[in-house]
Amino acid sequence: MKVLLIGKTGVFDTLAVAYGCLNQTDINNCPYFGDLTLENNKELVGIGANKVGNELFVVGFKVPEIIAIFNRELESLSHVNQNECWQVIPLSLKGENITWLFAWLANAPLLGPMFLKWARNRTLNRSSYLLEYGKKLRIEKNLDGKDKPDLVFAAKPHR
């Protein structure tokens, strides 16, 4: 299974959440962390795979739910094989608007590097919350399972 996490920022807060999902903590050493080119190009960034081989990707978009809706539409229109479906998870993180603002201002010509540093520091300062969010998400969405959660058939109802 492949999992796509979408937050307002891709390589800042969402990346930290992905690290939490993978049970890793060292965000600062991630080569993609704070990479503005990836952020601006809205490229899907592969972060790694968990112990059962589920791959995690992140991307940033200002309205994450739209991508999840679009993905569902694409799956239903194209009759994509359910076993090959991607699990697309839109995130709603506390305080991510400010990180997004800093990341956006980081594109400014002169003061850009300062805002980039602020955006990176903001993610690092909030890393305990973001990593914890990722750990909770892993349990909640059964990301350590091999199947998409909604594909697991329910047992016979208990009478």
Binding site: K42, L44, I67, A68, N71, W86
Partner: protein, 157 residues
Amino acid sequence: MVCIIKRIVYFDYGGSHTSVTAACIHAGKLNPNKLPSSDDLMAMPYLDKTTPEDFGKIKLIGTDKQGNHIYSLGTKSSHLGKMLDELARLHGVTDQYLFLCTSPYVNNVLRVGGWLSRSVSLPFLGRPLVVSGLRKAYPALCSFVETARLNEGVTMQ
């Protein structure tokens, strides 16, 4: 001759004006050689009728002469083409889809009209501006659709 049937998706910010108009031109619902009247435009499906819940939903407008399905889509962003292509590629359906952004054809009259009509829910103020803006952008949209059609012809083997 084998014709590959595609799904051609015109998208823009709101998915209710230029994308719908371009899709209607492509699907043959609007005549590219004649400037449409206000009634012609307002009779088009989904034109200036979408709601915030419609963002991200792919709406079927019709089919073209080659049998390609023509859709419109609102993405709340004008720079999403790459991500849409990427998602299609990840699902292994990239050969089925063609995503075309109509945002460059949104003029200021249309922008203000669309905002008044859709975002502020004042269609009685916004619609005349939407119609005026769309009529202004119509020749460029026709040319864009024609180019897309010709490019699409390349995939016919």
